[in-house]
Symmetry: C2
Subunit: 420 residues, 2 copies
Amino acid sequence: MDKTINIAVIGLGGRGRSLLKCVILPLCKEENLCVTALCDIYEDRAASAAKKTEELGFSRPATYTDYKEAIKHPGLDAVIIASAWESHIEIAIAAMKQGLYTAMEVGGAYSLEDCWQLVHTYEETGRHCMLLENCCYGNEELAILNMYRQGLLGDIVHCAGGYMHDLRGEILNGKGDRHYRLRNYINRNCENYPTHELGPIAKLLDINNGNRIVTLNSFASASKSLHETAVRDFGANSPLGQVEFKQGDIVTTVLKCQKGQTIVLTLDTTLHRNYSRGFTVRGTKGAYFEDGRYFCIDDVSDYKFNPDKFWGNADEVIEEFKHDIWKNHTACDDHGGMDWLVISAFIESIKRDVRPPIDTYDAATYMCITALSEQSITLGGATVFVPDFTRSKWYRRNDIAVDTVFNLDKAEPFADLYQY
Amino acid sequence: MDKTINIAVIGLGGRGRSLLKCVILPLCKEENLCVTALCDIYEDRAASAAKKTEELGFSRPATYTDYKEAIKHPGLDAVIIASAWESHIEIAIAAMKQGLYTAMEVGGAYSLEDCWQLVHTYEETGRHCMLLENCCYGNEELAILNMYRQGLLGDIVHCAGGYMHDLRGEILNGKGDRHYRLRNYINRNCENYPTHELGPIAKLLDINNGNRIVTLNSFASASKSLHETAVRDFGANSPLGQVEFKQGDIVTTVLKCQKGQTIVLTLDTTLHRNYSRGFTVRGTKGAYFEDGRYFCIDDVSDYKFNPDKFWGNADEVIEEFKHDIWKNHTACDDHGGMDWLVISAFIESIKRDVRPPIDTYDAATYMCITALSEQSITLGGATVFVPDFTRSKWYRRNDIAVDTVFNLDKAEPFADLYQY
């Protein structure tokens, strides 16, 4: 696309505002890009974001409270969805049907059917929905991917990761902040936020690109901490002190892949701890553990035998294997630069009119973990089948991707083996 | 018991020799204890151990190659079993039926039925079989238990642990060493060694003492590393290079407890890494992570906000909460002192003729994890039920235990609530 890309942002809570201010508007100065519409169900949010946009020297975008109107804004080419979790897929499907280049923020699905509808909409309209999984572009995650592609880790047999983030404050202030987490933690019990850890692991394991996830089992601990914290901070007789939270404090989810790898995901958002995505990669030749920042390679005595090189030895390795796209990249957003990279990849896919690097099949695959986790927990940890949303394309893809990072064209040689 | 306790050691491979030399014989100098019989199916092992015993200034014990003879040695009171995993329960049952005080080294069970037979034998004979789970007595594990009993961690909702130990060398040299691991890794795929991490967690969560484990799901990754290592070290055409190993490189097992806690166990013995038992305890007020040696308590700003206190901050806390039994204890065995403590607890239970602190119900409960893990993996991660080997005694125990450590009498007040 040579002409100006006109873009709308739908959802201007904390995340939408951060993306607009720190990434999308700055990108408008570098790319042929213009924010022409802003939409939020709360009128004040859209108005305030429009004002901010104007103050930063851009034309004032039109504002909407109804996304169905916003996606029909004259001349619109693309939309970025950063609304509440519950509305992501609904808005994305409407935008794709409208012919817009569509990207949505992360979050899990509420039913398998929604994931299928997302896929059907892509297949009917030819418009992908990119999942804006910024952690796929994390410096640490890409350094390990880089190391793996260079053969240093051998064959990967196991990965783990988590969303480990004490969010009690944000959850319990949900009413004041008009935030969706509170109602989710009251009403549901599942792996509600799997993609930050699963995205980078899926790229490492070539999910939908020569491999796929086949089964899921999920387990929730008792739910104790939110109640205890609500009673402590607001009193036992306060409305929050009386709430019964369904969400277990720790949710453990185990995935198995067609190529034999296991993946363990941990949702850990209501107990006190440091922040971590717990990124763990176990190959036959080497291992990386984000927790403890430990790295080892078999038979490299330097790493193997120097005890000082155990916990905490990884920083130099992350630096040594820094991915090319991080080398000249200056962090400039609320997540150390990842947001910039993922939004840039979306813009690049629009300009070249090719499938985005985290496409509709990936979105459906990553998001369905939440819906399936709810099923498995409800059924006492039962094994549930993870659908092949690609219906065989995972081993025979041939659509071109924007691929400076994830080796997405890698599936072709594999596919050749099986085509006749 | 006031008279000399005459003891036999059955199984004199690496483990039996280590216990004999570093713990049992030194204890003979402190306690009214005498090693009168030694037994191993390999005659040279028993003979060599008897010679060593004599060299250290003790009477030469009788030697046997058949445990059925050894347990009938005249005047014998007690037996310590340190044979191959496959024979632990068979030998223990024979010893209990012989009226001996019985203790056995750790290892998993091969069928649920064996665990039941162990329990039936105790109930018929009145003789317990103590599981010698030394890690229940680990300095770190007991410091955390101590901290928890003092209320610092709040309610525990989740624990994790692992046997994380690169054993490729030991496994692949199994033939030369006459070691049982090799045949297990060739023929089975399961959580084959759960008790080092599960023991301390079970004590923390009052398993069989007010709580119990109710379900298990288990998952194995692909098996790649042993084959790759065998080919590398012995050649692709060597006997070991041609072996197909059944054991997955990483086995993840999830347990759920009656009181809502989740427990995640990891078997990680065939990939390069540092040694760890990955002991992780998550309470509503605090957390401990062995990996990364990180500790935090909610609302203690000293731990919460000083970034230097994240990874690696736990050493001072472990020291501060050192358990009384470690305070004047000088490490003197092959495992930093834990072996000494667990064997001493066994001797104490004999002298006072009370149930040992890790008793037959505990042994059955911990060991059944292996058999159930094999079931669950075979059934695609299916949820399997963990039997209540106590048949209700977990909430109404009233037999006296040796209890300087684990608060084993704690179940009584709870039981009172439900007795009428």
